[in-house]
C-alpha cells in the first residue's frame, strides 16, 4: 500500500515536472520565432547585444490616442544579414508591449497572448515586419524589441548578432496610472508607523483581555475591564500603564532612530530633508528620554517600591495616577508638530535663542507645552516616591536596610524633585517668549541665551543620573541574587549613589565648556566632573566583588546585568574624556559624544531595564519568561548595540559632527572623514536595524509568557526582599496595611546599635526626658 502511494506520488511529481519543463520559457531562438525573449534578448545569437545591429520601430505616434489602431513596423539594419547574399534565414524579431493589443496582419508575424509578437518561419527571411497595435484607453506603453541579424546558414552561428531596444509612448492621462510615483514623505511614514504601532498595542491589549477570560469577550465585560485600567490608582496597574507607554514610545523613538540612520548611511543622502532630519533627531531624543526611559523607570518604581518596602500602595495613589495620565497628553502635545509636518527642531536641549527664533518650527511651542506637563508629572512623581519611601517602610526597615533598588529610586527622585523645577521655569519662559512676546531669550531685547543653558543643564545633568541611578539599583539586586550573595559593600553602594546624587548638581558646567561661560565656572566644573568617576568606580568594583566566591546562576537577567557592566564601563571610560577641557574643545558636539551617551543611556539604562524586566516579570505576570528567547534577545541585542555605537567614537574624533544632516568624506579638495571609514556608517545603519528588531524578541517573549508561560513561584530567584514574599502576581492591596511584614536583620548586633553620628542626631531630634516637654 505504501509502495503504491509512493509510486503514485512519484508519477504525479514527474508529470508536474514534465509539464513545467514543457511550459517553461525557452532560452533559444528558432527560425520559427520564439516568445519569452523580451527580457533577455536573443542570446542564442551571442552572449551580449551588439551595437552594430540597429533595431527600430516605425509607425508610432509621439502620443497615442485612446483605443486607436496603429500599423507599426519593426526592422533592423546592420549585422551579418546584410553581408551574405542569401535571402533566407536573415533575421528575426520579438516585440513585447506592456499594454494595448497586438494583432498580426500577415503570415510573417505571429502573436502570443495579446502583447507579444515574433516572426514566423516564413518571416525569418526578412529584416522588417508589420503588424497592428490597438492602444489602451490611457497611460503609457513601453515597446521592447529584440532583433536578430543572422548570416543565413539556418542555425545559430558565432557571427550572428542581436540587439535590443525599448521605447515608451505616452497616451492620454487619466487616473493614477499615468502619474509618476512619488517617494513617501518620511513624516507620513512615521505617522503611519505610529498608527500601526498603536493598532498593534490595542490588539495586544484586546488579546490579553481575551486570554484573561475567553468566555467574557464582549463589550459588557470589556467596558468595566478597560475602565478599571483607565481609572485605577493601584500602583501595580499604574506601573503596567507606565510600561505600556514606555515600550510604545521606545518603539516610536526607535523608528525615528532608524530613519535618522538611513539618512546617515551614506554621505550626501537625501532620504530626509534637512528640515525633517532636524525634527527627527529632536523628537528621537525627547521621546527616548522623557517618553520611554522615564516611564519605564517609573513603571519599575511603581511596581516595586511599595512591594520592596512592605507598603500596601504609594503614599499618594491618586497623585500617582495623575502623574501617569499627564504623560500621554504631554506626548500628544509634543508630537502635535509631527502631524502638521512642523515638529520641534530644536534638539532635546532646545538651546536659546534658536528655540525662540522665528526659524524654529512652529511645533516647538507645543513641544515646550508638552514638556511643561512632563515637568508637572515628574514633580508629582518625585514627591510621591519621596513621601512613600520616607513614611511607609515596614517595621524593621531602617534607612540602611532598604533594598538598593529602593535606595536608587529615592536618590533619583530626590535629584529629579530638586532639579526639574529649574527647567520648568526655563520652559515657561520659552513658552511665553514664543506666545505672548516676552523677551527672556530674545537677545536684541536684552535676553540672555546662557540663562537657558544654565537652567537646562542644572536639570539636564541630574536628569542623566535620574535615569541611570535606578539601573544601578537594578544591577545591584540582580547581580547579588544571581551570585547568591549579599551585595558587596552595601553601605558604600548607598554612599556612592548619594555621592553621585550630590555631585550631579555641581558638574553641569561641563556641557557648557565651549559656551562662552565664565572660565572660572568652567574650570570648577572640570574638577567636579572628574570626581564623578570615583563613586561610579566604587559601584563597578563592588559589583565585581559581589560575584567573588558566589555561585552565579546564569539567567537572562544575569546576562543583561553582566552586559551592563561591560557597556556601562565603556561609557564611563569614554565619559572621562570630556571633563579634560582642552580635549573637550575637540570632542564637544561630535559623534564621540553620541557614542558616549548611548553607551550610558542604552548600555546603562536600557540594559538595566531589560535586566529588570527579565528579573521581575515573573513577579508581575505570575509566569516565567522563556530563557531561550531571552538568550537570543541578549545575544542579538548586545552585539548589534556595540556594532552601532562603538564605531561612532572614531567617526566623531575624525570629524563627524553631531546633529548634522550629512557628513563629508575626504576629497581632492579637502580632508574630513577618510574614505576607508565611510563604510562604517553603513555598517552602523545595518546594526541599528538589527538592534531595533532584536527587541521584538523581548516583546514576543512577554506576550508568549502571558499567554502560555509556566506558573511562577513567589520567589523564583531566591531574593530576600519583601516583593518575593508576595504571591506572583501580588494581590491588591499588595500587603495588609494593618498587618505589614516585619523585616528582620541578619546584622542585628549592628542594626540595634546606632552609630555615634546617629546617636548625636537622635539626641537632637528626641528629648531624653519626656518631662522636659511643656504641655
Amino acid at each position: 500500500m505504501v509502495r503504491q502511494k509512493t509510486l503514485i506520488r512519484t508519477l504525479v511529481l514527474l508529470s508536474v515536472l514534465s509539464l513545467a519543463l514543457s511550459m517553461a520559457p525557452q532560452a533559444d531562438s528558432l527560425p520559427t520565432g520564439i516568445n519569452g525573449q523580451s527580457e533577455k534578448g536573443c542570446t542564442c545569437h551571442g552572449a551580449v547585444p551588439d551595437s552594430g545591429v540597429t533595431p527600430s520601430i516605425g509607425g508610432l505616434p509621439a502620443n497615442f490616442n485612446a483605443s486607436t489602431t496603429y500599423t507599426i513596423s519593426v526592422s533592423f539594419s546592420g549585422g551579418p544579414s546584410g553581408i551574405n547574399a542569401a535571402s533566407e534565414n536573415i533575421g528575426g524579431f520579438n516585440l513585447a508591449v506592456d499594454s494595448g493589443t497586438l494583432v498580426s496582419t500577415s503570415d510573417d508575424v505571429q502573436i502570443w497572448g495579446n502583447n507579444e509578437a515574433g516572426h514566423t518561419e516564413s518571416g525569418n527571411d526578412q529584416t522588417s515586419w508589420t503588424m497592428n497595435w490597438t492602444s489602451p484607453a490611457s497611460g503609457s506603453t513601453t515597446f521592447t524589441l529584440a532583433v536578430n541579424s543572422v548570416n543565413g546558414d539556418g542555425g545559430a552561428s558565432a557571427d550572428d548578432k542581436w540587439n535590443l531596444m525599448s521605447m515608451t509612448v505616452q497616451g492620454p492621462s487619466s487616473g493614477v496610472a499615468a502619474e509618476e510615483l512619488q517617494s513617501a514623505d518620511p513624516f507620513v511614514v512615521l505617522v503611519t508607523l505610529i498608527i500601526v504601532s498603536a493598532f498593534l498595542l490595542a490588539t495586544v491589549i484586546l488579546y490579553t483581555f481575551y486570554r484573561v477570560s475567553p468566555d467574557g469577550f464582549n463589550w459588557e465585560s470589556f467596558a468595566p475591564w478597560i475602565i478599571e485600567w483607565l481609572t485605577s490608582t493601584d500602583h501595580k496597574k499604574v506601573g503596567t500603564l507606565y510600561f505600556l507607554a514606555g515600550f510604545f514610545f521606545l518603539g516610536v523613538g526607535g523608528i525615528m532612530a532608524l530613519l535618522i540612520r538611513i539618512q546617515l548611511a551614506v554621505p550626501g543622502n537625501d532620504f530626509l530633508t534637512q528640515d525633517q532630519y532636524n525634527a527627527f533627531f529632536t523628537m528621537h531624543g525627547t521621546t527616548m528620554i522623557f517618553l520611554a526611559a522615564m516611564p519605564l523607570i517609573n513603571g519599575l518604581a511603581n511596581w516595586l517600591i511599595p512591594l520592596q518596602i512592605g507598603a500596601h500602595d504609594l503614599a499618594l495613589p491618586r497623585i500617582n495616577a495623575m502623574s501617569f495620565w499627564l504623560q500621554p497628553f504631554a506626548a500628544i502635545l509634543i508630537f502635535t508638530g509631527v502631524f502638521s509636518g512642523q515638529a520641534a527642531d530644536v534638539g532635546w536641549t532646545g538651546y536659546a535663542p534658536y528655540i525662540v527664533s522665528e526659524t524654529a518650527h512652529t511645533g516647538t511651542t507645543l513641544w515646550a507645552a508638552g514638556q511643561i506637563m512632563l515637568v508637572a508629572s515628574s514633580t508629582l512623581t518625585g514627591i510621591n516616591f519621596l513621601a512613600t519611601i520616607c513614611g511607609m517602610r515596614a517595621p524593621g526597615m531602617g534607612w540602611m536596610q532598604m533594598p538598593l533598588f529602593t535606595w536608587s529610586i529615592f536618590i533619583a527622585n530626590l535629584m529629579l524633585f530638586l532639579s526639574i523645577p529649574a527647567w520648568g521655569v526655563g520652559l515657561i519662559q520659552v513658552y511665553l517668549d514664543r506666545t505672548i512676546g516676552t523677551a527672556f531669550y530674545h537677545v536684541a531685547s536684552g535676553g540672555d541665551p546662557l540663562l537657558w543653558s544654565h537652567l537646562f543643564w542644572y536639570f539636564g545633568h541630574p536628569e542623566v543620573y535620574v535615569v541611570i541611578v535606578p539601573a544601578f539599583g537594578v544591577i545591584s539586586e540582580v547581580l547579588a541574587t544571581s551570585a547568591r550573595r549579599s551585595v558587596f559593600g552595601y553601605r558604600s553602594m548607598v554612599y556612592a549613589m548619594a555621592g553621585i546624587g550630590i555631585v550631579a548638581f555641581i558638574v553641569y558646567g561641563h556641557h557648557m565648556f565651549t559656551s562662552g561661560m565664565s572660565p572660572t565656572l568652567r574650570f570648577v566644573t572640570m574638577l567636579t566632573t572628574m570626581l564623578v568617576a570615583v563613586p561610579t568606580g566604587i559601584k563597578i568594583f563592588n559589583w565585581l566583588k559581589t560575584m567573588h566566591k558566589g555561585s552565579l546562576v546564569y539567567r537572562t537577567h544575569t546576562l543583561w546585568a553582566l552586559g551592563f557592566l561591560v557597556t556601562f564601563t565603556l561609557g564611563g571610560i569614554s565619559g572621562m574624556f570630556f571633563p579634560s577641557l582642552a580635549m573637550d574643545t575637540h570632542l564637544h558636539e561630535t559623534y564621540f559624544v553620541v557614542a558616549h551617551f548611548h553607551y550610558v543611556f542604552v548600555g546603562g539604562t536600557v540594559f538595566g531595564i531589560f535586566s529588570a524586566v527579565y528579573y521581575w516579570f515573573p513577579k508581575m505576570s505570575g509566569r516565567m519568561m522563556d530563557e531561550k528567547w531571552g538568550l537570543l534577545h541578549f545575544l542579538t541585542g548586545f552585539i548589534s548595540f556595540n556594532g552601532i555605537f562603538w564605531p561612532m567614537h572614531k567617526l566623531g574624533v575624525l570629524g563627524m559632527a553631531r546633529r548634522h544632516h550629512t557628513w563629508f568624506i575626504t576629497t581632492d579638495d579637502y580632508a574630513n572623514i577618510p574614505a576607508e571609514m565611510a563604510s562604517w556608517n553603513l555598517f552602523i545603519t545595518v546594526c541599528a536595524f538589527l538592534f531595533f528588531f532584536s527587541n521584538f524578541i523581548l516583546v514576543g517573549n512577554m506576550i508568549k509568557t502571558i499567554v502560555s508561560g509556566k506558573k511562577a513561584p513567589a520567589d523564583p530567584w531566591g531574593g530576600w526582599s519583601f516583593e518575593w514574599m508576595c504571591a506572583s502576581p501580588p494581590p491588591t492591596p499588595s500587603f495588609d496595611p494593618h498587618n505589614p511584614p516585619v523585616l528582620r536583620d541578619a546584622n542585628e548586633h549592628i542594626a540595634s546599635e546606632p552609630s555615634r553620628l546617629g546617636q548625636w542626631f537622635e539626641s537632637l531630634m528626641m528629648p531624653e526626658d519626656d518631662s522636659e516637654v511643656s504641655h
Partner: protein, 240 residues
Amino acid sequence: MGIASATFDSLWNEYLVWSAIVGSITFIWLAHHSLTYRSKDEDDDWVDVDGIELGVFPKHNDNISLELAWTIIPFILIVYLTWISWGPINDVWADPTDPNSQYGLDCTDAAADPNKCYHNIDIGAQQWFWSFDCRDLGPTLCDASQYQDLNGTTVPVISLKEGEFYLANLTSVDVTHAPWFVAFGVKEDSVPGIDTQVWIIPTCEEADCGGEEGESTLLLCTEYCGDDHAYMAAVVNVHK
C-alpha cells in the same frame, strides 16, 4: 587627516593608555569572576556564605580595606588626570593681554615680540554661513577672498599660515553657532550678544601642506542652528 593639535594629541594618547589599563583590569576581573564563580548546577556544593533568607536583610558582605582601596586609588588617578588636563587649559584660554603667555601680544602692538605674537581675525556667524575678516593682514597670513564648492554648497575659504598664532574673535547676529576647526581640535560658541574668542594655531602634516596648495580641511558648525546647520561650513587652508 589626523588631529594636528599637539594639545589634543598629548591628552588623547595619555587618556587612551589609562582607559586601556582601567578597562583591562575591569574586563579581566569581570571575565574571571563570571566564569570562575558560575553555578555548575542547582545542586552543586555551593555554600550559602551570606545566609540569604527571605524577609531578612542579608549579612553585610564588606571589607573596609578593599572599599577604601578602590576609592583612594581611582581618586589618585583622577587627581593625576586632572593635573595633566590642567596645564593645556592655557592653550585654550591664554589671556590676549598677557605678554608672557605662549602667544605673546597682538603683532600690531608696539610692545609685541615679533617672534612671539598673534594676529587678530574676526569670524562672523549668521544662519547659515560664515564670514571671515582678516583685518589688515596680508594674503600670506590670512586670505578670505576665495569660495569653494562643498557637495553643491558654496562655502568660504580661509587661508592661514602654518606656525602663526591667530586669535579669532567670534560674533553671531542671530542664534548660537560654533566654528569647529576639525583639524586643529578647537571650537567655541559664537553667541549673540556675547563676544567670545578662540585661539587657532594652524598646523598641518608635512606631506600635505608642503606643496603650493597647502592642506585643506573643514570648519563645521557644531552648535545646532536650524535648517542648514549641517551645510554651514567653510574650508580652512593651511600653507607654509
